[in-house]
């Protein structure tokens, strides 16, 4: 291969990710001249969709941004509206929201690891192939995903797009008998979660990026590892309240994609499981901590391909936390569950921002309400949008390093790389900010 | 001939024991702030004695909301026999007894519905007296005193229950706990009669039903139908809650491989627009006005052929469960009859 050769790598559609995206790399004389990640998912203009709706409708509408992390959108929306209204949910409500959220994380991580990422590592082109050649792994996926779905169904009403989460609280409490069913499922799934970690540890990443990204994650509300919080911490050492997100998160459109790109104080950033572990791994419960400390992540190997491992470690943590939450709920909730007597809250003008750690990273929702409680302005920033700039940078670094590799291999490696981020393109395009004025 | 006994309310747990010994006890329990439902109960404490009307009438216990009738595998067709176990249905008020009477007539007429009848036969029915609220009007449609369809009927006469026993099974139930029952004393009989006289006076709404079928036909073109139909949601809430509505749909549920499957019957409602539509798209009752008027006529005028009786038993369920407030049977009847709106009744 001569130095003056021009090459392009084009992946017209990255499969096994949610939504639609394409990758295009131009290589000129052995150097990467341009990298574009084109998210060509149709735009849905969610911040326009919610406009004018009563705040009670917002969680249900924003749930439709994305099926996989619908619970995250519902909760971020609720947190934002509650802040605008100036109300604080009860501790029981918070516990139930947490449990639901853990269910989503388990389901989303399991599906990503097994159904979307695993075929890369084992070379299975389609699901039936995976199912027939790796029946055990397939079964693991079924079990873990069923666990996540069961949690979400019992707490939220269905495996995604929950119906039981409202501004102010829930409309129905689960019965003890149902919670106990979940407990049993949780304790029988812990082993599977460990074996998922082992499985991922056994794969050697074929490529690696060359620079450490900037990590960003919410500082967990409690002293433990967690997914809800009001301030964000950066691996560069700074912390900011979520309310100030406009100041630290930059956003700009790029001409070739429907997803905007974000920067944290001007630098591409990475959010998600790896960011959370690298910032708060020391807070993990004992099960997950034991896996984490023995993993390459703890020793500072932050290859983005390890993101799948990070997700597996989080499944262990989620199972552990879900058990703790249920133990508390069994004390707080009436035995038979039942109607909560939730009342509609008086409307109030105001503005509020809420954030949660979704499977793929920090999700921000921000709303302004008019005095009748209708949405006057909205802004949402999704983790997938935050990651795009860093994905492009990763691609650039990987291609630069391995430019001599066979083009087919390199292309496959790039797909694996993009997939490791578990990008959710439906989110990425559906949430882009509007200016406040 | 009926036999009459009494037993003290304090003894009710003993009576409950007798019922449970016979089979599952189904009784009204509270399911929401305002609503009750017949559910299996395992202790007397779970029973909501105050329940006037459950959301669904007791018909659901004999004619379930969804029921598999047949199964097939290849060419073999097999009847799915209902899982019939002995049970005791407790707390049925007079209107619901009358409602069961209507369904009995329909489902036992030729060809009889074997599944319904099998469940009905395996059930001991224990009736319970009640005091009307502002939606009850069973006295207007003549279903206010328990006449048949029960094994035991309990009337609350203060400190004790007055039990009328109408069948050997009922008698056996009462006698299975020695010492529970006393033969009804003269005082008790007087108290019993007083109760029913007082109850009769307690009705807050009502109408005279004598000319009703004729009036309904006469007023077929009354503007009231248009007025109510405008508000009708066609949601069908009025029909499942009615003790005498029985319409159903039958559908096939095929297995994924397609060689086996089931035939399932499920409650349906005449208020849905597809209910009467035939091939070619012709609909005999296309609009909510047509369907609502049809329903009213069926309830107030009733069957012309096979059975010949009106089918409203005055329970008030449709009135309380209609989100649009148009199933105000009493108000509508009074208007049709030419009386004042809400005469003798209360505005809703």
């Amino acid at each position: 291969m001569t130095d003056h050769e021009r090459k392009t790598i084009h992946i017209p559609e990255v499969c096994r990710v949610e939504g639609h995206s394409a990758v295009h790399v131009d290589i000129d004389a052995g150097k990467v001249s341009s990298v574009t990640l084109d998210v060509f998912e149709g735009t849905r203009f969610f911040e326009k969709i919610v406009l004018g709706h009563h705040y009670e409708e917002i969680p249900h509408i924003t749930s439709r941004v994305c099926a996989i992390c619908s619970t995250g959108h519902v909760l971020a929306a609720i947190f934002a509206v509650e802040q605008a209204l100036g109300i604080a949910p009860s501790s029981t409500t918070l516990l139930l929201r947490e449990l639901l959220h853990l269910g989503m994380l388990i389901e989303s991580h399991a599906t990503h690891i097994y159904a979307l990422a695993l075929p890369d590592y084992v070379g299975a082109p389609d699901l039936s192939d995976l199912a027939s050649r790796y029946p055990d792994q397939f079964e693991n996926w079924n079990q873990l995903r069923n666990l996540g779905a069961a949690i979400q169904t019992i707490i939220g009403g269905r495996p995604f797009h929950p119906v039981n989460m409202h501004v102010g609280g829930l409309s129905r409490f689960p019965a003890h008998s149902d919670l106990k069913k979940l407990l049993a499922m949780l304790s029988s799934s812990l082993e599977l979660a460990f074996s998922t970690c082992d499985l991922l540890l056994s794969f050697k990443p074929p490529v690696a990026r060359t620079t450490q990204p900037v990590f960003l994650a919410l500082v967990p509300r409690e002293t433990e590892y967690g997914f809800f919080g009001n301030t964000v911490r950066s691996s560069e050492g700074w912390e900011e309240p979520v309310q100030n997100y406009k100041q630290y998160l930059g956003e700009h459109s790029v001409p070739y994609s429907h997803a905007k790109q974000s920067t944290a104080r001007g630098k591409p950033l990475m959010v998600g499981s790896m960011a959370r572990l690298s910032l708060f791994g020391h807070r993990l419960g004992r099960h997950a901590r034991s896996v984490y400390t023995a993993s390459p992540l703890a020793s500072g190997d932050m290859n983005s391909l390890w993101n799948n491992l990070a997700q597996a470690i989080e499944i262990v943590e989620c199972i552990y936390q879900a058990e703790l939450v249920i133990e508390k709920l069994l004390v707080e909730l009436p035995r038979g569950g039942g109607d909560t007597g939730l009342k509609r809250l008086p409307p109030k003008a105001g503005q509020g921002a809420g954030a949660v750690e979704c499977p793929r990273g920090t999700l921000y929702h921000c709303y302004s309400l008019d005095d009748r409680g209708h949405i006057a302005a909205a802004d949402m920033i999704t983790p997938s949008a935050q990651n795009t700039a860093r994905i492009e940078l990763d691609i650039r670094e990987v291609v630069t390093q391995f430019v001599d590799k066979e083009p087919e291999t390199l292309q496959a490696n790039l797909e694996t790389l993009v997939r490791a981020y578990d990008p959710c393109n439906t989110c990425a395009t559906h949430m882009v900010s509007v200016k406040y004025n | 001939m009926e036999q009459c006994f009494t037993f003290e309310k304090e003894q009710f747990p003993l009576f409950f024991e007798a019922m449970s010994e016979h089979g599952t006890v189904l009784a009204p329990v509270r399911v929401s702030e305002q609503s009750f439902a017949f559910r299996p109960v395992s202790s007397a404490g779970e029973i909501a004695f105050e329940a006037l009307r459950t959301i669904l009438p007791p018909k659901k216990l004999f004619y379930p909301q969804r029921e598999t009738i047949l199964g097939y595998e290849g060419r073999t067709i097999e009847e799915r026999k209902p899982d019939v176990k002995p049970q005791v249905l407790f707390g049925v008020h007079p209107c619901d007894l009358a409602g069961l009477g209507v369904l009995d007539a329909i489902f036992s007429s030729d060809p009889a519905d074997s599944h319904y009848l099998a469940r009905r036969k395996a059930t001991i029915v224990v009736g319970l007296s009640c005091m009307p609220d502002r939606y009850c009007f069973c006295n207007s449609v003549g279903t206010d005193s328990p006449e048949k369809g029960y094994d035991v009927f309990l009337t609350d006469i203060g400190g004790s229950y007055f039990a009328r026993v109408n069948s050997p099974a009922g008698l056996q139930l009462l006698q299975s706990r020695p010492g529970l029952m006393q033969p009804a004393s003269g005082d008790a009989r007087q108290q019993y009669k007083d109760f029913w006289v007082n109850r009769d006076r307690a009705f807050q709404i009502g109408f005279k039903s004598g000319n009703l079928p004729a009036i309904v036909d006469m007023e077929w073109d009354n503007p009231i139908w248009e007025e109510l139909g405008q508000r009708c949601l066609s949601c069908g809430n009025c029909t499942p809650v009615c003790p005498t509505c029985y319409c159903f749909d039958i559908l096939d549920v095929a297995s994924l491989t397609g060689d086996s499957g089931e035939r399932v019957r499920e409650w349906d409602s005449c208020q849905f627009s597809g209910f009467a539509q035939v091939a070619g798209g012709f609909n005999f009752r296309p609009g909510p006005v047509d369907r609502l008027r049809f329903w009213y006529r069926h309830k107030l005028h009733g069957f012309e052929d096979a059975y010949g009786f009106p089918t409203c038993v005055g329970c008030g369920r449709c009135t309380v469960s209609c989100p649009a407030g148009i199933d105000d049977i009493v108000g509508v009847v009074l208007r049709l009859q030419g009386g004042q709106d809400g005469q003798g009744g209360e505005e809703r």
Binding site: G52, D126, A131, H374, A376 | S321, P323
Partner: protein, 262 residues
């Protein structure tokens, strides 16, 4: 039929613009179907995808950009049965609802700035552009219904899908009515059943995610909600949020005017 040459019927699963919910439901239930079909295309779930003639194509999402339309036409041209799955594909869902109030150009300008290059179409259900053989609504679809549609179509039979209102399922479950008892703005009377009256079962108001039922009485619903004390603009916004088409409910007062800007 060339069934003998093709041992297994072929299916494909595609998505246009939507939340991927139906793909997720299908993915999670695919195992049950795998012995009976060959999945020739399902980009969400597998990397080996072919655009070739199939017996059944399941399409989720609405048509919201020219790219979606091209893809849909290509799918239609190669599918014997085309099944629209999910509210987006059947009614247009929330992104269809918003198109009553703003044009795509307006929205693109406000969201991506003046000189954006977004090529958006007003979000529309599939049958605006192509013939759709079976419509299976839901947000997300019910797994059981999906499998029974698959079972029917594998035998070349049309599936039995009714559009009776949510209230029927709600009553059959014997829920207390939240519209009557709690005055919640329940849209069960005008929404197609299929979810098992989920929201009322959880003590909450149905918000219409399944799309309209047969002959929905929109005006009567509007009257009832107004009488319960809901402001007319909230009534309209609720009634139109999940893709009720203009032909069914034509109250299209722009909500934007009612919003007091801050």
């Amino acid at each position: 039929m060339d069934r003998l040459e093709q041992p297994l019927p072929c299916i494909s699963v595609h998505s246009l613009t939507g939340c991927a919910g139906e793909e997720l439901v299908i993915l999670e239930n695919l195992q049950k179907a795998l012995p009976l079909v060959r999945v020739v295309s399902f980009p969400f779930a597998q990397s080996a995808n072919e655009m070739r003639p199939v017996d059944i194509a399941f399409v989720e999402g609405s048509v919201s950009q020219p790219h979606d339309l091209e893809k849909l036409k290509a799918i239609r041209a190669t599918a014997r049965w085309l099944v629209a799955v999910g509210n987006c594909a059947v009614w247009g869902c929330v992104q269809g609802g918003v198109c009553r109030r703003f044009t795509p150009e307006q929205m693109a300008r406000d969201v991506y700035g003046q000189d954006n290059q977004i090529a958006a179409l007003p979000s529309a259900p599939l049958d605006k552009y192509v013939r759709v053989d079976v419509k299976l609504s839901g947000c997300p679809i019910d797994a059981g219904q999906f499998l029974s549609v698959l079972a029917s179509l594998l035998k070349d039979h049309l599936p039995y899908i009714t559009h009776k209102p949510v209230c029927l399922e709600c009553k059959l479950k014997e829920n207390g009515c939240v519209l009557v008892e709690k005055n919640l703005p329940c849209l069960g009377p005008i929404t197609a059943a299929g979810c098992g009256a989920l929201c009322p079962t959880f003590g909450a108001a149905c918000y219409g995610c399944w799309g309209p039922c047969e002959a929905p009485q929109m005006e009567a619903m509007e009257i009832v909600l107004k009488e319960k004390g809901y402001a007319i603009d909230e009534v309209i916004s609720r009634l139109t949020a999940f893709g009720i088409p203009q032909e069914i409910y034509s109250r299209d007062k722009p909500l934007e005017l009612k919003v007091s800007r801050q």
